[in-house]
């Protein structure tokens, strides 16, 4: 049961002020994602995020500045001022931000925040506790180098730190993905059999500050509100007969019951990540996109590396060489089965990445180990803010066609 009623007119607004969100029409999310008419605009990634947030019916957003994310959460501030977001403030720093947004989500309301590289690292203790607390927070993450040396440039190594937290995670290629994935993330994360936080990452600057064509629905439509009564665990609202969920035997003591309970709790979180796949499919079509299926040379990529890979596919085609591409949309759940099916004809697989660690390469290797005969080549990789010229990929692929196909990075 929802108890939301018209709120008081905020200070500084005229007496007849109506929150802009109240003038929007709640529509079916699948219709919004797949059928509602769209128009295309040429906007930055931060603006695409703003337009997604405008349509997401967000209750509470908590911000803290960090480059390149700041623009998005300040845009969220404008949306709050317009009345699209019900509550908003600038927190003290990221541990405070990530703790507070979890508190908001535990109240049963739709909650949003955003950060970048070092901010993510600062807030990581709080962030990594979100899945266990079953808080469906949506975190927008604009990837950035982790200091030191200090830099603000794009580099997505921070994604590797989120892989084993139990969070859902989509990695957008461009401004369009940032818009679509954000809408999908709220819907997926709040499904009862999921009830998990979701990160939507994009590569900083390449996506956030560059313009791209984004096809969007009419801003008069918005997603249905979060129903705080539909959740895998009760909200912290004292609306249920009190369940002593932290009672001593299960959690507070070191005994076999506590170990067992913790283990099963973790198993359930990671099972929920897998269960979310069906909902991601509902909104994103599939967890991967395949270009030139059956090609002997395949590129597996996520994020901005996909765009570079697309150009590599195009230029190879001009030379009469067929190169395939698998775009990984969701890092968690990782689309193991889909990738396995898509690489069956492959002899060599390249995994270009914007980070030093090669976290996607490791994911691909552990997925395909023993199930695929292709050489899985660790790269090419750029990091620290470097761009990835298409020539780099083309050179690596040309090298791979020589007698020494399994060289490593």
């Amino acid at each position: 049961m929802s108890t939301q009623t018209a709120s008081k007119v905020p200070e500084g607004k005229p007496a007849d002020w109506v929150p802009a969100g109240d003038l929007q029409e709640v529509v079916d999310p699948e219709w919004l994602m797949h059928e509602a008419p769209r128009t295309t605009e040429f906007i930055t990634g931060s603006e695409a995020a703003r337009e997604a947030i405008r349509r997401c019916n967000v209750d509470v957003a908590i911000s803290y500045p960090i480059t390149p994310q700041s623009e998005t959460m300040q845009q969220a501030g404008y949306l709050y001022d317009e009345g699209h977001i019900k509550e908003y403030y600038r927190a003290e720093e990221e541990i405070g931000t990530m703790s507070a947004i979890a508190g908001a989500s535990r109240a049963g309301v739709r909650s949003l925040t955003a950060t970048s590289g070092p901010g993510l690292m600062r807030g990581l203790e709080a962030i990594s506790s979100w899945p266990g607390a079953r808080t469906p927070v949506v975190l927008l993450n604009m990837c950035r180098v982790i200091n030191t040396p200090l830099a603000i440039q794009p580099d997505n190594i921070e994604i590797s730190f989120l892989l084993n937290t139990g969070m859902l995670h989509a990695h957008g290629e461009n401004q369009q993905d940032f818009y679509d994935y954000t809408l999908a993330a709220f819907m997926v994360s709040e499904e009862v059999d999921v009830t998990l936080p979701a990160t939507v990452s994009v590569d900083g600057f390449f996506v956030t500050h560059a313009r791209g064509h984004v096809s969007m629905t009419d801003p008069k439509y918005k997603l249905p509100p979060r129903d705080g009564w539909r959740s895998a665990v009760p909200a912290m609202d004292n609306e249920n007969p009190p369940a002593r969920i932290s009672r001593d035997a299960p959690i507070q003591k070191s005994n076999f019951i506590s170990y067992h309970m913790h283990a099963s709790w973790q198993q359930e979180v990671f099972a929920a990540v897998r269960r979310s796949a069906k909902y991601w499919r509902k909104y994103l079509g599939d967890l991967i996109e395949v270009v030139n299926p059956g090609a002997k040379e395949m590129i597996i990529a996520s994020g901005a590396a996909v765009s570079q890979a697309r150009e590599c596919v195009r230029q190879s085609e001009e030379k009469g060489i067929e190169v395939g591409l698998i775009k990984v949309k969701t890092i968690r759940p990782f689309p193991e089965e889909e990738i396995l099916n898509a690489v069956q004809g492959a002899e060599r697989i390249y995994v270009p990445e914007f980070n030093q660690a090669g976290w996607l390469h490791k994911e691909v290797c552990s997925t395909l180990y023993g199930k695929c005969k292709a050489d899985i080549i660790a790269g090419p990789r750029v990091y620290g803010g470097m761009t990835m010229p298409t020539e780099l990929l083309l050179d690596w692929m040309a090298e791979g066609r020589k007698d020494n196909p399994s060289y490593t990075f």
Binding site: E87, E92, R106, A107, P242, S246
Partner: protein
């Protein structure tokens, strides 16, 4: 939110946990006239069993806090690692046992979220945590919550030591005290948290020791009501650690009285707007009686 939505349908009443039925029928849930401190032992309390050390003054204080809550059925408690949570988590009130030192940030989001979701029902948020949790690791969030005038209550269980991790000095330990991690005695003095609360313009600030149970309950009620309607509130309570400070169990209350007399006397610092509000509330309370 109307009470009707929360009161179980009579047909289902018997299927509710007996503990819940007791809280409604014989305890403080949904009662116009809350059970009083002087009736302790005769009603269903929010916390009845706990694994705290024998003679722990903090436990008594936590029991009294639960009695003082004006609307326990619409309260959420937020805590962090420390002795206190061992008893608080036994209470029949939802308890968020968060990350280290995150209480006042979590409470900020929680309170705002509850206000969005329940615009017609007060939901009280109370942080109850120790001196390490609030004054050391959670200090930044404590201060910023005050600066933002967040509308929840913070109760500092001040045992002047990290009790739960085995007796290390904290920011609230007094100068010269020898404890673990202070082998030569603490070099600096006790942090003046009350002074910080005052300069942060916290609307209701109280220092208290558990020597007068009715006063503890009244102070908690005042703090929660101020947070509900006016702004931030803060109670700093002396809740000795008889283990780490080697206070013989039979002498725990004597110590509380001695410390109260020496340096922990009852004191309230109330803003003008909170004074005005409390005067109004207490006038109505008197009229009811």
């Amino acid at each position: 939110m109307s009470l009707a939505n929360l009161t179980p349908s009579p047909g289902f009443h018997k299927w509710l946990p007996v503990e819940y039925r007791d809280l409604v029928e014989h305890g403080p849930y949904f009662r116009d006239k809350k059970p009083k401190v002087s009736d302790m032992g005769k009603f269903k309390e929010i916390v009845e069993e706990h694994p705290m050390c024998a003679g722990c003054a903090m436990t008594l204080f936590i029991r009294l806090v639960f009695i003082g809550l004006p609307t326990p059925e619409h309260t959420v408690i937020v805590g962090t690692a420390g002795c206190g949570r061992l008893a608080i988590s036994q209470g029949s009130i939802p308890f968020i046992y968060g990350n280290y030192g995150d209480t006042n940030a979590t409470a900020s989001g929680l309170k705002r979220g509850l206000e969005v979701r329940f615009p017609n029902q007060h939901k009280d948020v109370v942080v109850m945590a120790g001196d390490g949790g609030l004054i050391d690791i959670g200090f930044q969030h404590l201060m910023h919550g005050w600066f933002r005038q967040e509308k929840f209550t913070t109760i500092l269980l001040d045992n002047e030591v990290y009790g739960n991790t085995g007796g290390q000095e904290s920011g609230m330990t007094r100068q010269g005290q020898i404890l673990k991690m202070a082998p030569r005695g603490k070099k600096t003095g006790k942090i003046d948290a009350l002074g910080l609360a005052k300069v942060s313009k916290v609307d209701y600030v109280a220092r208290i020791a558990p020597t007068n149970p009715a006063r503890v309950a009244r102070t908690v009620r005042r703090a929660v009501l101020v947070a509900r309607e006016v702004g931030s509130s803060y109670i700093q309570a002396y809740t000795s650690c008889n283990i780490e400070y080697a206070i013989p169990t039979p002498d725990v209350m004597k110590d509380a009285f001695d410390v109260e007399k020496d340096r922990y006397g009852f004191e309230e610092i109330i803003s003008d707007r909170a004074k005005e509000f409390l005067a109004e509330v207490e006038k109505k309370d008197k009229a009811k009686k």
